[in-house]
């Protein structure tokens, strides 16, 4: 326990016990250091391999900047009215505790009207407008301020967002009910689906379970009619290779990648999906 350094034992072969214990402790400490550093850097593997590309909340910085700036507090999770935002686990490495959205389970339908998650973020990982020096890609920028259909008649109908977080894509046109010319009747995702959504004709301020809002459509256009953004998606008559005209969901430039179309798509797995971090025309 004392601090004084005793001189080394005279060279008669006697083992200085104190010295030995000190040497052991030094070795142990080196091993501890190496082990903690090794374990902490393991977190880089899932990030480097991008083994699960995540959909981030609206206003997220580019992935590398987002991971460096997120303080992993979950305040964005707490303000989301539809609980779309979840926090990642340790299998995401450095992404542990970082928010993501699983659109198929619960998409962001902008039912907060004001992108509250951005307002809640204390570190600027989610922003209304990126600082000029922050990394950004031109294909992520939206051409015009996005108009939220739910408040189209308000004096200020736009969402304060300058960039999209992803882009919708008709991944399986063969499975799409509209392409097949089929209609749809019932709850979009069945009676067990837990996802919620705001329907302006039901209650502007209260999202309701998707299963409580059944549809009866001669031609399925769920992705088009539930899309919260004006002009982001429409059904277009497309002539296929056999010369047959088919109604096809077509994504347009205003798409923000919110994922509502992916959530409501009634076929399993979804015919339309959102590609995280993908820009327009890229």
């Amino acid at each position: 326990m004392t601090a004084e350094k005793k001189p080394a034992a005279p060279g008669n072969g006697a083992i200085n016990k104190r010295k030995l214990e000190e040497r052991r402790r030094f070795l142990r400490t080196m091993i501890l250091g190496a082990a903690v550093l090794g374990i902490s850097t393991l977190g880089y593997i899932p990030v480097a391999s991008a083994w699960r590309m995540r959909m981030r909340p609206p206003g997220a910085l580019e992935e590398a900047d987002f991971l460096s700036s997120c303080i992993k507090c979950g305040q964005c999770v707490q303000v989301c009215p539809v609980q779309a935002i979840k926090l990642d686990d340790l299998d995401q490495g450095f992404g542990v505790g970082v928010p993501y959205i699983d659109s198929r389970q619960q998409a962001c339908d902008f039912s907060c009207d004001a992108v509250q998650c951005i307002l809640a973020c204390p570190t600027g990982a989610l922003v209304y407008k990126k600082p000029a020096f922050m990394a950004s890609r031109s294909e992520m920028k939206v051409a015009n301020p996005p108009i939220l259909l739910a408040k189209e008649k308000d004096p200020e109908p736009t969402l304060n967002l300058k960039e999209r977080t992803g882009l919708a894509r008709l991944a399986r046109p063969d499975a799409c009910l509209a392409v097949q010319g089929k209609g749809f009747k019932g709850a979009a995702r069945g009676g067990d689906f837990k996802g919620t959504m705001r329907f302006i004709e039901v209650d502007r301020w209260k999202p309701i379970p998707l299963k409580d809002h059944p549809f009866d459509l001669a031609l399925c256009d769920l992705c088009v009619r539930t899309c919260p953004i004006k002009g982001a998606i429409s059904l277009e008559a497309v002539v296929d290779i056999n010369g047959i005209k088919r109604m096809t969901p077509t994504v347009h430039e205003p798409c923000l990648g919110c994922g509502v179309c992916e959530m409501v798509c009634p076929v399993e797995s979804a015919a339309i999906v959102v590609d995280p971090r993908k820009g327009w025309g890229a």
Binding site: T2, A3, E4, R25, F26, R28, T29, L32, G33, V36, L37, I39, S40, T41, G43, Y44, V47, A64, D65, L67, S68, S69, C70, I71, K72, C73, G74, Q75, V77, Q78, V79, L87, D89, L90, D91, G93, F94, V96, G97, A120, P122, T123, G124, P131, F133, M134
Partner: protein
């Protein structure tokens, strides 16, 4: 002399061995007390039993656990019941709208991201002032949920050592300062908040609020390591959060104070202390002054106060002594 005291406190916190003061450093008053102690013939055992009988058992432990559990519970119910009093997690939160940001998490983000927004600065400043007043590492023992798990694991560890089932393995305390620098460097160089990935403080706090996950497995491994191999290893040798708050606590007015005249030098306090090097002055003949402030690495947990049979240790707010 004053500057020297702070320097010494930081040196020991960074891993330096506490040293016996030079003869010139002892005050006349301290010298006199040490001298009388040599001639004292009181029955310490009888005195101790007497004191124990009148002592409130684990007074500070009860207060501290109540505070720790209440703070963490407030985070949980704020989200679950949507009462919005304390929103977020320990890394960053809002109390009734005011930003509060953990100093070490903020540091990691600032170093990794290299861009600081106003809210981050406000939250960090608020928390800095808060812990400057409340004693820096007070955060560890009064707030950190991992500390709560670790101190209970520690009881198990100490019991196993007493039963001779296991032996304790100490590391060099200086490694915590090395870790602090390495985690800072990694944040700067990689651009990722590497420490946050393995921080049990953040992991446990988020698990309480947002639900458990795989990350708790890592916390479990740490606890097993502490139970069976090395006492309080994470807090003592690794955690940079503790060191960050330790620096804040260097100049804090709230600390544990030691009165030489009341001390019987039994060393009970050092046995229960997470950071016994700060209590080096209680060893017979070591205290250079009649009353001393315990150093910056002290977590202000109050365990030493609870076990001290003679009331030689107490919480004190600096300046208050002079005013009153």
């Amino acid at each position: 002399m004053m500057a020297n005291k702070y320097f010494e406190s930081v040196r020991v916190m960074l891993g330096g061995e506490p040293r016996k003061p030079e003869p010139a450093e002892y005050t006349e008053e301290a010298k006199a007390i040490h001298f009388y102690k040599k001639t004292e013939t009181l029955d310490f055992i009888a005195l101790k039993k007497e004191a124990r009988a009148h002592q409130k058992k684990a007074k500070w432990l009860k207060r501290r656990w109540t505070a720790l559990l209440a703070i963490n519970l407030l985070f949980v119910v704020s989200f679950w019941l949507d009462i919005q009093i304390l929103e977020g997690a320990l890394t960053a939160s809002r109390m009734l709208g005011f930003h509060l940001i953990d100093l070490n998490s903020a540091l990691q983000v600032m170093l990794a991201h290299k861009h600081i927004i106003v809210n981050l600065l406000i939250g960090t400043g608020t928390v800095f002032v808060l812990w400057l007043l409340l004693g820096g590492r007070t955060f560890c023992s009064w707030v950190c949920p991992y500390h709560f798990l670790a101190e209970n694991a520690e009881r198990l560890h100490v019991w196993l050592v007493e039963k001779k089932k296991i032996t304790d393995h100490a590391f060099h305390r200086g490694v915590r300062a090395v870790f602090w620098v390495l985690f800072a460097l990694m944040a700067i160089l990689t651009g990722y908040t590497v420490f946050e990935t393995i921080s049990p403080t953040g992991i446990v706090s988020r698990a309480l609020i947002y639900g458990p996950g795989l990350a708790l497995g890592w916390v479990g491994l740490l606890l097993l390591f502490e139970v069976f191999y090395s006492r309080r290893a994470w807090c003592r040798y690794v955690c940079p959060i503790g060191l960050t708050y330790g620096f804040v606590g260097v100049f804090s007015p709230l600390h544990v104070t030691y009165r030489l005249a009341d001390c019987h030098h039994e060393g009970e306090c050092r046995r229960v202390c997470e950071v016994p090097h700060v209590l080096d002055c209680v060893i017979k003949g070591r205290a250079p002054d009649a009353q001393l402030d315990i150093g910056a690495d002290c977590t202000r947990c109050g365990m030493c106060i609870d076990v001290c049979p003679s009331g030689a240790l107490a919480f004190e707010i600096k300046g208050l002594r002079k005013i009153m």
